[in-house]
Symmetry: C2
DNA sequence: GCCCGCCATGACAACGTTGTCAACCCGGCG
DNA sequence: CGCCGGGTTGACAACGTTGTCATGGCGGGC
C-alpha cells in the first residue's frame, strides 16, 4: 500500500491498489470513453476501497476552470439578499457550479477584499451587489477573463447589470398615496449615496411633480434605519405635518412600524407578515429571486462564451395594496 | 514579456518582469522575512504593473490547507439558517477563512453531494445541519482528517455538536400556556422524523405530564407547514377543541397566523415583527447567531489542533411573552 | 588580511491532476 | 502468415506554487 499513513489517497495510490497506470484511474474518475468495462470496474473497486476523492485543487490547477462563482452581497442575513443568494445557488447548481459567497456589509474595502479573494481562488465569474461606486480594481480581473455581473445596483463598469425599476416603483407607490387624497407625503430613505436610494428618491420627486405637488425638503429624511423613527416623529410634530409616508426600503418600513407610527404608508420592499399587520402594509415589491436568477443566467451565458455588448436588464416592481396605503388623510 | 497573451500572469512572469528568481517573488508575496527592502519594493512594483494575483489552487495543492470551510444548511433563504450563516461567516473572517455554503433543502442525497463536493475542494472543515440520519458517508472524510461539527441537530457521529434545548424550550412554552389556565393545548409541529421536531414534541408531552394533564393524540398534528392551518381548523371544529396552541417552528407559527386563527399561541422560534402583530406573538426564541458562532468556534478550535473528546453544547432558549401566550381560555 | 558565518537570493523538486502522444495487443484481411 | 488498424493502456510533461537546500557575497573578528 503506497498510501501514506495520514492524508488522503491520490490517484497514484488508487493506481497502485488496482495495479494500473495513473492515467487509467484519471480516465475512470472522469468517466472518459475508451476504458474497458472490466478495467473500469477494477479501478472503481480500488477507489471504493481507499475512499478516494479527486483533489479539486490539482484539477483546477491543471484545467484552468474551477466550476465555481463568487457572490458578493451586502448581508446574508437580510431576507432580500438571502433571496438573491438562494436563487443564484439554484442556477449554479443546474450548471454544476459551486457558489462562494460573502457579505460586504456595505463596506467598499471589504467588498474589494472579497472579490480579490474570490479571484485568487480563480472563480469563473462574479456576481456583485456593488457597495462603493469605484470598481476600477475590477478592471484587471475582467481583462484577465473573469466574467462579472452587477446586481441590484450598477457598478460603474460596462458589464452585464440587473436592476430593479427603483425609480418607477417609488413613483407608483407615491402616486398611489396621492391618488388616495394625500398632498403631504414624507419620504424616509436610506443614505442618498446608495444608488437604489437615490433612484427611489427621484421616483418620489417625479410622482410629486406629476401630481403638481411641491417638493418640500422638510418632508424628506435619509439615513440609517434607526434614525427613521425619530425623523418621522419630528415631522409629525411639526406644523403642516405629512399625512402619508413612503419608506425607501424594508428595514426602514419596519423601523417606522416599530416606532409606533401608523400613518398612511407605502413601503419599498415586500416583507414577510406585511399582510398580517393591522392594517396590512401596502408595498412596492421587488422580486429578489428573479433578480438573483437573472444575474446568474447572464453570468453563465457569458461563461458559455456569450459575446455581444453588456446587457442591462431592469426588472419591474409590483404594487401590492394591503390597507396602509389606502388610508385617507 | 513572458506573460502569455490571455490568462493571468504567474510568479514566473513577475520574476521575469522584476529580473529576479521565482522564489524571491514567492517570498515577497507571502511576506516572508529575509527579503531586502529594495528587493521587496522592486518585486512589489512588478506585481503591481502586471496585476498579479496569487493562484490559490496551486498554493492549496502545495500546502494542503485551503483556509476555507464548508457550511451545509437547509435553506439560505430561511432567516434561522441565514442567521447561522452570517455568524459562521463572521467567525471565519476572523480566522482568515472563506465559507463555501450550500442548501440541502432537507434532502439527505443533496447534503451528501454538497459535503463530498466540499471535500473534493479540500475544505479544512465542515459545519453541517444534518438532513438525514445516516452520516456514515462522512466516516472516510473524518478519517482523512477533515474536521466536522454538527449544528442544530445531532448527526449520529461522534463529533462536536451544537444544539438548542429543544425539549426544554418546548416544555417551558407549553408550561407557560398551562400556567395561564389552558388545559387543552394543541401541538402543531414539523414532521416527527426531524430531530428538532421530535424533541419539541417530547418537551410538549413532558409539560403536560408535569401538569397532570392527559396526552390527547387528537390535539397533535405533524407535517409540512402548509398543512398546519387546515389541521388546526379541524381541531377547532371538533368537540372539546383546544384553547391554546403550541407551534413547533417559525414557519408553522406563521402558517397558523396566516390561516386566520387567533387562539392563545406560543411558537417555537422568534421571527421579525412578532412584536408588531396584535396581539404580539409569544415565542420560545433560539439564537441562530450564537448557534452558528459556537459551531464555528468549535470547528476552528479543532482546526487549531484541539484534541480531546467531542463536545456537545446545548444552548438555552428564551421565552418572550408578547401577548398571544398570555391569553386566557 | 583572511577566514568564518550569516544573510539574501536562487535552483530544484514536489504537490495531484490532465493533455499529449506513444506503445501495445488483438483480430481481421490480404 | 504477416501486416495493418482500431481500441486500450501507459509514460511523461505541465499547470503555479512552496519547502528544502545550495550558493554567493559581505561584514566582522582575530
Amino acid at each position: 500500500m503506497t498510501e501514506s499513513a495520514k492524508g488522503r489517497p491520490t490517484m497514484k495510490d488508487v493506481a497502485a491498489e488496482a495495479g494500473v497506470a495513473l492515467k487509467t484511474v484519471s480516465r475512470v474518475v472522469n468517466g472518459e470513453a475508451g476504458v474497458a468495462p472490466a478495467m473500469a470496474e477494477r479501478v472503481g473497486a480500488a477507489i471504493e476501497r481507499l475512499g478516494y476523492r479527486r483533489n479539486e485543487s490539482a484539477r483546477v490547477l491543471r484545467r484552468g476552470r474551477t466550476a465555481s462563482i463568487g457572490l458578493v452581497i451586502e448581508d446574508v442575513a437580510d431576507p432580500f439578499y438571502s433571496g438573491i443568494s438562494r436563487a443564484v445557488e439554484n442556477v449554479a447548481l443546474r450548471h454544476g457550479s459551486l457558489v462562494l459567497s460573502g457579505s460586504s456589509g456595505e463596506d467598499p474595502r471589504r467588498e474589494r477584499e472579497l472579490v480579490l479573494t474570490f479571484c485568487a481562488r480563480r472563480v469563473d465569474g462574479l456576481i456583485i451587489v456593488p457597495a462603493g461606486s469605484d470598481h476600477a480594481y475590477l478592471r484587471p480581473e475582467l481583462d484577465a477573463g473573469i466574467a462579472a455581473v452587477f446586481a441590484d445596483r450598477p457598478g460603474g463598469l460596462d458589464v452585464d447589470t440587473v436592476l430593479c425599476d427603483n425609480s418607477g416603483g417609488a413613483r407608483s407607490g407615491v402616486a398611489h398615496l396621492i391618488a388616495h387624497g394625500h398632498r403631504r407625503v414624507a419620504f424616509l430613505g436610506d443614505s442618498a449615496s446608495i444608488y437604489t436610494s437615490g433612484e427611489r428618491l427621484a421616483g418620489y420627486r417625479r410622482a410629486l411633480r406629476e401630481a403638481g405637488l411641491p417638493y418640500d425638503a422638510s418632508l424628506v429624511a435619509t439615513g440609517p434605519a434607526e434614525q427613521a423613527g425619530p425623523a418621522l416623529a419630528r415631522m409629525l410634530t411639526g406644523d403642516d405635518p405629512p399625512t402619508a409616508v413612503f419608506t425607501g426600503n424594508g428595514r426602514i418600513t419596519v423601523a417606522v412600524l416599530r416606532a409606533g407610527h401608523r400613518p398612511a404608508l407605502v413601503g419599498f420592499d415586500d416583507f414577510e407578515l406585511a399582510d398580517l399587520l393591522v392594517p396590512g402594509v401596502t408595498v412596492v415589491a421587488q422580486d429578489p429571486a428573479r433578480l438573483g436568477a437573472t444575474a446568474a443566467e447572464l453570468l453563465f451565458r457569458r461563461l458559455a462564451g456569450g459575446r455581444g455588448a453588456p446587457e442591462r436588464v431592469e426588472l419591474p416592481t409590483r404594487l401590492i395594496p394591503r390597507g396602509s396605503g389606502e388610508l385617507r388623510p
